[in-house]
Symmetry: C2
Subunit: 392 residues, 2 copies
Amino acid sequence: MKINENYSKLEGNYLFATVASKVNEFKATHKGKNIINMGIGDVTGPLCEAVIKNLNSAVLDMADAETFKGYGPYRGYNFLIEQIVELYNRRNISLIESEVFISDGAKSDCANILNIFGANQTVLIPDPVYPAYMDTNIMCGNKILFADATRSNKFLPLPNQNLNVDIIYICSPNNPTGATYNKNQLEKWVDYANEQDAIIIFDAAYKDFIEDENLPKSIFEVPKAKTCAIEICSFSKTAGFTGTRCGYTIIPKELTKCGVTLKDMWLRHQSSNYNGTSYIIQKGASAVFSQEGQQQIKETLNHYKENAQIMCKTMDEMGAFYTGGKNSPYLWFECFNSLNSWEFFDVMLNELNIVGTPGQGFGKNGKNFFRLTAFGTKENTQEAMNRIKQYF
Amino acid sequence: MKINENYSKLEGNYLFATVASKVNEFKATHKGKNIINMGIGDVTGPLCEAVIKNLNSAVLDMADAETFKGYGPYRGYNFLIEQIVELYNRRNISLIESEVFISDGAKSDCANILNIFGANQTVLIPDPVYPAYMDTNIMCGNKILFADATRSNKFLPLPNQNLNVDIIYICSPNNPTGATYNKNQLEKWVDYANEQDAIIIFDAAYKDFIEDENLPKSIFEVPKAKTCAIEICSFSKTAGFTGTRCGYTIIPKELTKCGVTLKDMWLRHQSSNYNGTSYIIQKGASAVFSQEGQQQIKETLNHYKENAQIMCKTMDEMGAFYTGGKNSPYLWFECFNSLNSWEFFDVMLNELNIVGTPGQGFGKNGKNFFRLTAFGTKENTQEAMNRIKQYF
């Protein structure tokens, strides 16, 4: 009996554990301090009324044999898929139902999609980025190359024509940097992927924070993307579903490799490895697309966006270098006073009583950067910015 | 760019598609016939009141910022895990919380658990069995051997000491045969696995159909199982969660391979590939363990069990060879009149207007057998048995 030896190559990801332990220690020794948590990458607002209404009605359906739902379709219910197809069609992206797969969230699909490609891929991952891309690729033994995101490229790296890769991860708006590619930049990635016969895994989890109408919310706004890209979407940040769990993945029918249609492979994968997303949750998610739902999620998103604006305003006043804040719930800025990200974390916690996330935890290029999130209250966000302005 | 070539080795699984198409054709040409569906492997009853109550209350929690839940723990909420630990402890199986992992259902875990073992395993799968075991192992390129379940071993194969294997699948009570191992038989498998340094993946999805108190509901009733077995459980058949989606997996702390504790590997897997099961659904599942919930699910289970008894009675009267029916919602019997399973399917549909599932679809050893399920109404079950008794 062997085990998967790649797991031994995983580095302990102690980022959030270390943050939590430092915060707890500080709290224990400094009772009564007003600590503002801007480290959390999680939503805080409740689900909107339209979603709650649909969840309630779906629970009722499950209480009556006449309306009870057993096993659902592997790809998800049509009532939800049709709304996603309509959403894309309204944005002039043609889509058919069999290209859409409902999931229990973007994270599962981001990881499990690797199964259809098999072993020994070369993958290109931005640095810094959401740590799960790297961990899942280490686990399956893929060779990892990095696309360096730095101050000089405004944390939006472009293709290096000298690299040969099989799979490219793009997260736009990015976690943690909030940096968002424009259409021209995405075109460069799409052309590169098509030339290389590579696949782009496009993580669009933060798309609904995009305010600038010129910035693409979907990689399929680049027409040639249909032959190279898989788009992974989530209701988590769009509609506060982080604990409710629902997402969807788009695999265009044009996306074939070695003569095989990848959406058919993925359907086969999901039929064997998954049994569909809960009916109740899918019904809840479908309310997000109603007129009422759209209006309500917009209010919550606007609340977060206002917090982000408050943060940007402070950074502008201080002349700081930052990305995000616009089109993203994340503000990513260079640590003041030439501190590295863990030194800066300590000052922020001990002197300013603000919790943020050291950039080092997202990759080597984050070592002098810091992430703050817009998911708190307006009052706390403003208060934190006042403290920062006063101190630095 | 390569793709996973193992997918090309998958055989089209057209069993249920072929069944559905034959049924639809018959319906179209025989309007008004009272067709009784006993092919479905899905529950039909609604969720019980206690579950509905908890689901409603969890939805309310999500509507209020004070009680709203964002990302949950990767292993699941303690309120649910603690109840599972208690359940096992009451059955004299010691268990700690870190050995329990809440999932979105047994199917996902049955498939994804293979990731921690890595490539090139030799797996032993019963024939006939639930097709997903085979498909997921083909997809990851494992070598598959079969444990032949036949009339001569009452569809309960025992270890063949001459075979060297890494992973052993056991489903007891079995799908499709309903055959259930006793403790002595499971001990043989556990001893064999321990000697071989192999892992048993024990699928206990149907455990709550077990009536005979001498039959083990958990492989951990065999003490030495803790060094070789992973148990995968589901609320699907226990509490009608097929469309609601929740399950749990037990990996004992004693289970180590190559010096690595497998529960730690699985936690690492779930942390990177999963983001937890929906809070709402976990809250619903937790009601199953309340006194009220236990009473209510028992009523639904008893309804299915009564149907199974009706089927057994008919088979006994007819002198048929069968397994299941007892301790299982499935009745598995040898086709009458020496028909093979597809010929028998046609007679059942065309002459008796009963839909069942041809055994061939679950493996070569099912070619002369047929599966009927107890998930219908009592009236239909009785009527179907009358038709069978009259015709054959």
